[in-house]
Amino acid sequence: MAKTILPYVISGISVGGQYALIAIGYTMVYGILRLINFAHGDVFMVAGLLMVYLAASLPLYVSIPLVILLTVLLGFTIERVAYRPLRTAPRMSVMISAIGVSYLLQNLALYITGGLNKNYPQIPWISDRVTVLGMETSRVTIITPFLTIVLVVLLVLLINHTKIGMAMRAVSLNFETSQLMGIRINNVISATFIIGTFLAAVGSMLFFTNYPGVVPTSGAMPGLKAFVAAVFGGIGSIPGAVIGAFIIGIAESLIKGLDTILIVHGTIAEQIGFATFSDAFTFILLIIVLVFKPTGLFGEKTTDKV
C-alpha cells in the first residue's frame, strides 16, 4: 500500500514546490495591489518558451541566467505598461487588464511556436534519473522541495530584514498611508513583480523539466492552481502560499493516481476516472475554503466600514 502511494506523494511534493514558487508571485502582488495577476501563469509559460529557444543556440550556463533575466524584465514591463496606468482605476479594470495581458501572451506564444509543442531542453544533472527509497525518478523531483524551501527562507529574510522588505510590509498593510509616509510605492511594486517573476522563472525550469514540453496554454492551469494555493494559505501570506501549494500539489498527485491506488488496495475493481478531477479538485478545495474560511489558513480578517 505505502509502496503504491509513495511515488505519488513524492511527485506531489515536487509539483507542490513548483506551485509554491508561482504562488508567491500571486500572493505578494495581491497583498500589495489587491490584484489577481491573471498574467502570472503566462509569464511562467513564457519563461519556459524562452528556455526552449535560448538553450537551442546558447550553452546552459548562459541561457539559464538569461532566461531568468528576461522573465524578470517581462514581469517588470507588464506592471509598468499594463497595471501602473490603472493605479487609480477601479479594481475590475486592472483585473481585466491582467486578463488582456494573459490573452496577449498566449496569442503571442501561439504565433511564435505555431501552436506546436516545444520540447523542453534537458538540463544535465537535474534531469538525470535517480533511485530514491527504491523508486526511480528524476533528480529534479527530489531537489525541488528543498530548493523551494531555501528560496522561501531567503525571501522571508529579505522581507523581514531589509529596507525594501519593510516597505513591502508597510504597503501591504495600508497603501495610502505608506504613500503619505514617503514610501515610493512604485519602487515597492516593481520590486514585488521582480521577485515574483524571478521565482516563477526558477519554478518554470523545475516544472517543465518533468514535462514533455511547452505549449501556449501551459501556464494557465499551473497559474490558476498556484493562485488557489495562495488563497488557500491566506492570500498575502508567503508561508501560507507555500503550505497551500504543497497541500494542493500532493492532493492533485494523489487524485491522479487514485484509480491505481484503489485498484491495488482492492477497493475498486476497475478504473473510475478520478484523474479527470485532478484539476477540478483544486477548485472544489478553493470554493470550500472561500465559503467556510474566506481568509484562508493564515490570512488576517478585515472588516468593512460603513
Binding site: 483585473m95 490573452y103 496577449l104 477548485f283 472561500l290 465559503v291
Partner: protein, 388 residues
Amino acid sequence: MKKQNELPNSKQSSWVSFLLVLAFLALVFYLDQIIKPTNKMYMLMTVLQKGSVYALAAVSMNLLNGYTGLFSLGHAGFMLIGAYTYAIFTIPSSARDTVYQYFDAAIRFSFPEAFSNVMGPAGTALGVLVAVILAGLLAAFFAYLIGLPVLRLKSDYLAIATLGFAEIIRAVFQWQKLGPITNGSNLLKSFARTSKFKLEVGDTKLVLSTFVPVLIATVSIIIIVKLVNSTYGRAFKAIRDDEVAAEAMGINLARHKMISFTVSSFFAGVSGAMMAMVLSIAQASNFKSAMTYEILLMVVLGGIGSTSGSVIGSFLFVAASEWWLRGLDSGTFLGINAPGVFRNGFRLVVFSIIIMIVVLFFRKGIMGEREISDLFRSRKKKAKGAAQ
C-alpha cells in the same frame, strides 16, 4: 414636467424600434436566401451566426458584470451546460449509436423528433425551441446551486470562485463515468444544427441557417434590455453603485444578486445551445476559461454597462477575428505581401494588442455606459437647443 414622468419608452419610440428590429430580421431572412455557402460573401453570414451567439453571451455577461457589478468568470461553464443540454436532447435516435460509439447512450429522447411525430414539420421547430429553453433552464438551475454559496463573496474572490466552478463543470462533463449521458470527452454531433434549418413552402425551400440564431439572439437580448430597464434592473444598478446604500434602501442583496446571476446564466445557457447549433458540434474541452475571457473582452470592447456596446463589441470581435483580419494569417493584408510575418496566429496577436489598447487607453470602450438610443436622444436635445 408631466411629460418627463412618462416611461422612457414612449409609445411612439417603441413602435419605431419594433419596426427597426422587424426590418433587420427581414433583411437577415432575405440574405439567407440569396447568399449561398459557396458565395464569397458567405463570410458575412458566418459572422452574423457566430456574432449573434457571442452577442447574447456578452449581453448576458454584461447583465452580471456591467449592471449588477458582480465580477463573475463562470460564463463558459454555463454555456457548456447549455450546449450539452441542447445537443443531447436533439440528437435523432437513429444517430445515437454512431455518436455514442464508446458508450451505451442513456438518453434516447429527442425533442424535435418527439414533437414532429405528433405535429409534423412544425413540431421540429417547436422541439428545437423547447431544447433551447431547457438548455437555459438547466444552466440557470446550476447557477442557482452555485450562487447560494458564492454570491456572498466579494469582487475578486467571486471571480475566482466562479472561474473554478466552470472548470469543475468541465471536468464533470468529461468524466468517463458520465459517458452514457455526455459521451465523456468525445464530442457530440449529428444534433439539430443551423446548417440544416429550412422551411419548406410548397416546392421552395427557404434557408433559415442564419435567421434562426439571429432571431433567438434578438428576442433574448430584447428580454434582457427590458429587464435592465425595469425596476429590477434599476435595483441591480443600485447594487453595483453602492451595495451598502442599496441594502439600506430596502433592496435584498442576496435575492437580487441571485436573480441577476440566474437570469444571466439562463441566457448564457441559451447562447451555449446556439453555439452548438451553429458549430454543429459540442465538446466540453472547447469551453475553457479562455472562452470566458474572450467574452469579457467583447464586453469591455463595447463598454461595460452598455447592452448595445456588448452587441457591437461581439460583432466587431467576431468580424475582425474571423473575417477582416484573416489576411494577417494568410500572407497578404491590405495589399502587403509578407508571408514571413503574416502567418498563422498573427491575426490574434494584432487583435490582442488592439484589445490591450482599448483596455488601457479607452477604458470606457466604444459605447461607455450609453446605448444607441441615447445617441439619438442627445442629438435631438442638441437640435432643440440650437433651435431655441
